[in-house]
């Protein structure tokens, strides 16, 4: 009898635990907001949220911040579960995949209804988030590649100005390469190295983006020259093997003549390189003014239960008032024209060199490259870059590497189109 009582009690307890919790009645005015590795702006965000709540009483805002390595995996699992954050901050081209597969809300109707919103932003940067004629994101913060150059090493090599062509770039790099010093370094994550090829007239894909177009004699020549320059030490090998920290760290070590990187690198390099000041560091556009954008934008998840509220929120945070505060706080550009103007003015007093760096981000924005709106961008990168790496590091001939790259890229394209 006693054993039966214990069993019955245990079963009742297990059943009680197994009964699903009554779902919390979700506040119909709750907004979840996911950002990409920007937890340092907590104080600013708290003020933004308070301001938004004062204009939208009864709204609860739940803010989540994830590191770049964690966010995509987190967001995908939330999408599958149907509990994706209402507003999401996405970097680079990852948004295209979500947009193409119905994960993001098309913002075009909102922009058509409120045309004054689109007018706030730099049109070239805003157009970065268009896919099949629809706009899916608003700019949060923007950057593109530029050329930093070490004025001291330039002077030692008797060079007076930054290179204007690819030939000059390689020549200058060779002149500066002596002993431990190398002449040129580029970041290689995403498509940041692509301007080196674009400035030579090379296209990655055909205009219909259905086939590889890069396997040309010109591309082979460029690869051979890059390989030769890497082998001789004119180009630092970390250009092709390092990620973000190593190349920037190497430039901060005052042994590299030129760095091809985005504006965000400036603050990292400045923090590490005590040699950096207006007299020792120059900034310029890469030859041909070609640049790869690396932007962050705000999108709205399609699964949101409050699309209008989410839209109001992203308008709020990208609006001139808070974009200006953000630009000043984080020393970056937001894509909001008025905010960026104010941000630059502010920065000029505090860090004129930093302001010069950011100014380059607003110039020649009609020369973006390396930003194809393809849902399978990650697969394409993985198919293309390892072969380029093999070629520039001398592990394969340029011809063999291009053949293998073309095969791999065409495979990705045929699988996905």
């Amino acid at each position: 009898m006693k054993r039966r009582t214990v069993l019955q009690a245990a079963l009742a307890g297990a059943a009680a635990l197994a009964v699903p919790h009554a779902s919390r009645a979700q506040t119909s005015r709750k907004l979840s907001y996911l950002t990409w590795n920007i937890a340092d702006q907590e104080q600013l965000f708290k003020e933004e949220f308070a301001d938004f709540r004062s204009a939208n009483p009864g709204v609860e805002i739940e803010w989540l911040d994830k590191k770049g390595t964690e966010l995509p995996a987190f967001y995908q699992t939330q999408l599958v579960a149907g509990t994706a954050p209402d507003v999401v901050d996405l970097q680079g081209a990852i948004w295209v995949e979500y947009a193409a597969n119905g994960g993001l809300l098309d913002l075009t109707p909102y922009l058509k209804k409120e045309p004054e919103v689109a007018k706030l932003f730099n049109p070239d940067y805003l157009a970065s988030w268009q896919y099949q004629g629809k706009n899916y994101m608003l700019p949060f913060y923007i950057a593109k590649t530029l050329l930093y150059y070490n004025k001291t090493l330039f002077k030692e090599a008797e060079l007076s100005a930054p290179p204007q062509t690819f030939d000059e770039l390689l020549t200058y790099a060779t002149k500066m390469a002596k002993g431990e010093k190398t002449g040129f370094l580029t970041l290689n994550f995403d498509w940041l190295y692509w301007p080196l090829f674009k400035m030579n007239g090379i296209e990655l894909l055909t205009p219909d983006m259905k086939k590889a177009a890069f396997n040309t004699p010109q591309m082979a020549t460029v690869l051979e020259r890059l390989a030769k320059a890497t082998d001789s030490g004119a180009i630092n090998k970390i250009s092709w093997t390092g990620r973000w920290v190593e190349p920037n760290g190497a430039f901060a070590g005052n042994t590299v003549g030129m760095l091809h990187a985005h504006s965000s690198s400036y603050f990292f390099v400045k923090g590490q390189g005590s040699w950096i000041n207006e007299n020792t560091l120059g900034v310029a556009q890469a030859p041909g003014y070609w640049a790869t954008p690396t932007n962050h934008g705000f999108g709205i998840s399609k699964s949101t239960k409050n699309p209008d509220l989410a839209w109001a929120f992203i308008k709020h945070v990208t609006g001139t008032k808070w974009a200006t505060r953000f630009s000043q706080s984080r020393k970056l550009l937001t894509g909001n024209v008025a905010a960026d103007r104010a941000g630059l003015e502010y920065l000029r007093k505090d860090d004129p060199l930093g302001a010069q760096v950011l100014q380059t981000q607003l110039e020649h924005t009609d020369k973006f490259t390396g930003n194809w709106p393809l849902p399978f961008d990650a697969q394409l990168k993985d198919a293309f870059y390892p072969e380029i790496q093999n070629a520039v590091l001398g592990r394969k001939s340029a011809k063999a590497a291009l053949t293998d790259a073309e095969r791999a890229v065409n495979r990705v394209l045929s699988r996905n189109t």
Binding site: A10, P72, A378
Partner: protein, 309 residues
């Protein structure tokens, strides 16, 4: 008057003692079994199904037959990752040999041997991420201790880009892995050494066997169970060294340190190709089972069995 024998009355099913005992056992097993089913069996079956389909978190599932497995045949990265994984597994015996040497040293009558044991073992309980970060700094080209020492002793003219070199990256990661596992191997082998009766060595010494013969004829054969345990655990650890590789090199440069386990992660979470990642996982699983089966056969065939007299 004839006596009518009483008809044996069998209690109802649920009232029987054996039934009640069985129900009790199942009640206690049920939670663990439920967790095992939910987190092991169902995901495994789902994984198998996914490997024959086209699916992503944002698309509905479609049957794909053996397309994903066919893709593997043409995937250079898969073969590179498989090769790297096999090399990683093959490095386990190197660590075991080093650990055996250390175990022999700390089992001898040297002063401070307890301290040495502690120092050697201390690497094992460390979090793998911490180990990876430590070794990343040690191998760093600009500020790493290894390059600093090498240059101080004029062993090299220029710093070696350990983790950015196609040649050095995988060996560097293997060194970090061996360092972490040394403590564990040493403890297992030390226990095995301490279970060898000293009388065997005495008898062998009396018979004229030198140290080398005693080692190969007594120590090694009697350490066989411990050695096999180390080999199996070492290989399984090598198979699943995701965190070490991910933090140290991310699988790079190129694919120089890509293992199957890191490749599967990237396929799923960077390229959103969960279907293809599932197929690679199945191959990974088959390889793991094959190695475990081989190890079991080599160690006598009944590893894990409860032996009764």
């Amino acid at each position: 008057m004839a006596v009518v024998p009483a008809v044996a009355h069998r209690p109802p099913f649920l009232a029987r003692k054996r039934t009640r005992q069985a129900v009790l056992v199942w009640c206690f097993l049920a939670p663990s079994l439920a967790i095992f089913l939910l987190y092991r069996i169902i995901p495994l079956l789902w994984n198998v199904a996914l490997s024959f389909a086209n699916w992503s978190p944002l698309r509905t599932m479609r049957w794909a037959g053996v397309d994903q497995y066919e893709e593997m045949l043409h995937d250079d990265v898969f073969w590179q990752a498989l090769w790297n994984t096999l090399l990683f597994i093959a490095s386990a015996p190197v660590g075991i040999v080093i650990a055996l040497g250390l175990a022999l040293l700390v089992s001898s009558e040297i002063r401070g041997r307890d301290i040495y044991r502690t120092i050697i073992f201390i690497s094992y309980p460390l979090m793998t991420v911490a180990v990876a970060i430590i070794w990343r700094w040690l191998f760093d080209e600009r500020v790493g201790l290894i390059n600093y020492v090498a240059r101080s002793f004029h062993l090299v003219d220029r710093p070696i880009q350990f983790l950015n070199s196609f040649v050095w990256a995988l060996p560097s990661v293997i060194v970090a892995n061996i360092w972490q596992m040394l403590g564990f191997y040493m403890i297992i082998l030390l226990t095995g050494l301490q279970n060898i009766p000293p009388s065997l060595y005495e008898a062998a010494a009396i018979d004229g066997a030198n140290a080398r013969r005693r080692f190969w004829r007594i120590t090694v054969p009697l350490l066989k169970p411990s050695l096999f345990l180390c080999i199996v655990i070492g290989m399984l650890n090598s198979f699943t060294s995701f965190d070490l590789v991910y933090v140290m090199t991310g699988g790079g440069p190129g694919r120089a340190t890509e293992l199957l386990v890191t490749y599967i992660y990237k396929l799923g979470f960077s390229q959103t190709r969960f279907d293809y990642a599932a197929a690679v996982t199945i191959v990974f699983f088959v390889l793991l089972v094959a190695i475990a089966w081989m190890a079991n056969r080599l160690s006598g065939g009944n590893a894990g069995a409860v032996e009764t007299d």
